[in-house]
Symmetry: D2
Subunit: 298 residues, 4 copies
């Protein structure tokens, strides 16, 4: 197929190369000229404006967005609209909030533009060599796009989750689970590191990859990370978060689903970003008040 790919960052470029590997034609656009140049050097047909991108695509045009969630997506869609014709297709392959996706779907439907959402998992490696795609789309559109999804994913690695929005919904929850799993691994690793035995953490992660109950890709990555830095001494203890963990927590709250582990995992990330915890200062101050407990003063 012929794909107009907007966004050639870490994920976008890898996905483009993946598409090229499977015989697709990729016309790529990014805001920064040098980013386009870099992609062009790898086989992507470079476009230096949206007009140029759209101009190179046959009807119905297939445009794949691989850009940051939020306003950027709306802005790009606004800029694309005058350039597109009814029947053209936009796939949002990024991590948009599912409610934005629902809204955009309705908006574009009224303009005659078909819209699908693909939650794309598997990291950069997945984007490059075989991702996992959770696709929300109408049946007809999904059928049309299915060959492409089949090509860019690992075997068994794509699913038509349901109507528009459902792909991003499933991806959101996937990431929520990921937050909980990662925090669990982190906590376990810390117990290992501080426990009574002098353990080779990399070797432990390694053996857990093979035959254990908790084997999986995160454990593969754990071994990989520890093979580069056996004690993680070069990593700062700050865990940032993008939106999906928060959105999963918000969705759980909305549904009154008690999700304490995913929520706690998110809150511990927020805690890690704090230079100073005011809540803790309150506790220290209270302890000092009632017990005359020593309080660490600055």
């Amino acid at each position: 197929m012929q794909i107009g790919l907007i966004g050639l960052g870490k994920m976008g470029l890898n996905l483009a190369l993946n598409m090229l590997d499977h015989g697709h034609e990729v016309i790529g656009y990014a805001r920064t000229r040098s980013t386009v140049d870099k992609a062009a050097a790898r086989g992507v047909k470079g476009a230096y404006s949206l007009e140029e991108l759209v101009g190179q695509l046959g009807l119905p045009r297939l445009i794949w967005l691989m850009i940051p969630a939020g306003k950027t997506v709306d802005e790009v869609i606004e800029q694309l609209l005058p350039l597109l014709a009814p029947g053209d297709i936009i796939v949002d392959g990024g991590n948009s909030h599912y409610r934005d996706t629902l809204r955009r779907y309705q908006f574009l439907k009224e303009k005659g533009i078909r819209f699908a959402d693909s939650g794309t998992s598997g990291g950069m490696e997945g984007a490059r060599y075989g991702a996992c795609c959770m696709v929300g789309a109408g049946d007809e559109l999904f059928a049309y796009l299915e060959p492409l999804f089949k090509d860019i994913t690992v075997p068994g690695g794509y699913l038509h989750t349901g109507p528009p929005g459902s792909g991003h919904y499933v991806k959101m929850v996937h990431n929520g689970i990921e937050y909980g799993m990662m925090q669990a691994i982190g906590e376990g690793m810390e117990v290992l590191a501080k426990g009574p035995f002098k353990l080779d953490l990399k070797a432990v992660a390694g053996v857990w990859r093979h035959g254990s109950v908790i084997r999986g890709w995160l454990m593969d990555l754990m071994e990989s990370a520890l093979s580069k830095d056996a004690t993680l001494e070069n990593i700062k203890d700050i865990a940032y978060s993008s939106g999906e963990g928060l959105w999963t927590v918000e969705e759980a709250l909305r549904l009154k689903v008690p999700a304490p582990v995913i929520t706690t995992a998110l809150l511990m990330r927020y805690r890690s970003e704090q230079e100073e915890s005011f809540a803790t200062k309150v506790i220290a101050a209270l302890r000092h008040e009632f017990g005359g407990h020593d309080v660490a003063r600055k």
Copy 2:
């Protein structure tokens, strides 16, 4: 009554003054000579050795321990034993683990020494002007000691909780609840501090003291702390813990009582003591592995 008080620290000295206020005679001992001197200057009869302390007490001797929980209590009991006579009484007014108290009670019973435990709450101010005492003791011993407990507590502020050990048990749980409450206050204060309104935190704590659902002594202390340091800028964000919070969590685990709030409050204190969170480093490293996410490097 005549009380031999061992331990003249923050809590012990205040308790001694409290007892003196109510017409009791207090012979006080502490390991450090100057501590005894200081107490002596306030009306306590100083004793510079356990022998001296015991020697000044009429039969049955009443000895009150106000010393750190753990080994110290066992050591002092060991040193006291040869000096005591059957029928003498030891009251452990400190924060001992209730299982240690049960053990000591059995041990002393075999020696003919009567033993009671008093969980003492109310901080230094309570020790000085009226505490809250949770007393574990046999009925007869409690009846004997009751006038003393009546004197050193606020009206309604003492309870015969049950047999030996029960006083410390109830005090342990009291402190567990305290951990949860303090963390809740801390979190709320932080939301106030970072929220969209420029609030006078001291004034808020002040109004909450009067008529609100969450009014109570912790809120009184909150206003007091903020009146000294309106933004807590001089307090470091480290909240230490003594044993009872942990013990409550351990007891809850033993009983399979889900106590997530008390537990989380404890864990957040531990988190505050960490210079570096290894768990967080693991998460940061994993994020970097799969997503090429920026990781803060040292």
Copy 3:
């Protein structure tokens, strides 16, 4: 003062009686005729329509809303607007979301109507005999209303928290803290109830009311509840929630304030509302898969 009180439910009626006690004139309206009759029998001047209510008020009219948060407030305001004149005052004394309050303030400002928000704490007893009011309002309006707030609150029990919205904000956080405190008390009580000692829970709550660190109104209520039902055998283990706990959690998430205790308290309430936990079923099913562990089947 002359107050037009809309909403004569549990809180509203008590507040009306409180106002009457202090010499204010209360014209009261409620949707249900019999509710108005009941209030009228206690000294409130009954109004059976908003028109009737507004008609009895002198200029500038002072209207106090004591109605459920959400749409109802907007509806009542919409119905009131044609009846009011510039300079009239609406006080929202309910538990509205602070962002709704900000929106309503702007909306009413454009119409020339003055608007204040009062977060009202202290339960029914507080409403009746002395509440705690957190008031968001412009300075001038607050000065005008202050005598009323002084009358209906306990000494020290009202605060001008800041501009409109701030009263509801502070009240929201107050309730969030309350959630955490209540869960902490619940957990502690359960550890007491299941522990090795046969304790009189009512007596324990009673002694904790006097001189302990965790003394406060919630402990007063704890003793009161246990005095009616010593083992709470007649209470079902479901803890509902109104909005403020959730809003505090949402606000904390928005501000990236880690509030794990308040959040967990909320989630445990949600858990208590569940007839069945799907998350737990997943775990049971997984355990069965890997370990052949017995799984409770229906």
Copy 4:
């Protein structure tokens, strides 16, 4: 090798068959005669007493325990001791607490019996076709046993974690991580199940197995469980726990490692076992006290 296997339950029998597949000779003993018969029918040499078991083993005897953790292990060791000779080997392949293992190692060392611990992961399927073994042992003993571990594990699936006790320690933490991961998956699945889209949960678990970040054996099992019961309607929402989750939490507390996710996962299991939550009743009662909130009565 020749292995005397004590315990022929779910894990033990599968492990025996695994050993047989690799050409080892297995003499198997279990307390129940029929259990031995069943194993004998599959190729195990049945022993109907420990004497019979030991009698069939050449020197140095290699005895593998696959029995429930706790007292049973001590009892069996006590019964074995008079039958063994210096240099004989006991491997504890069960889920013993690492501190019991340390104690047993010292005890047996004094008797001249060599002792190793193998944390064995991978469930029944792993035991049968290739497990993951974390082995604590002295270097010499490990070298001696290594060929056996190589045979019964998947490639890469065994590790000499360090000295005795370390195998069970690493396995304990493995299970702690497992608790956190499973709760995260459970929460995510519940958000999917209750969300706005009608999703095929089995299909979602299926796609997540292929290429996603959270792929791994637990997700394989998730799909398998859902393929048997698409909505888990036949599973009761009770998640039991054996010891390792609790031990990981206790160890984390001992080390002051904040492990809120693993801890919360454990507490949610405990919550699921409760017929009634006393903590929740306390909250419901308190709400009723202050707000006159409706309380669900029995």
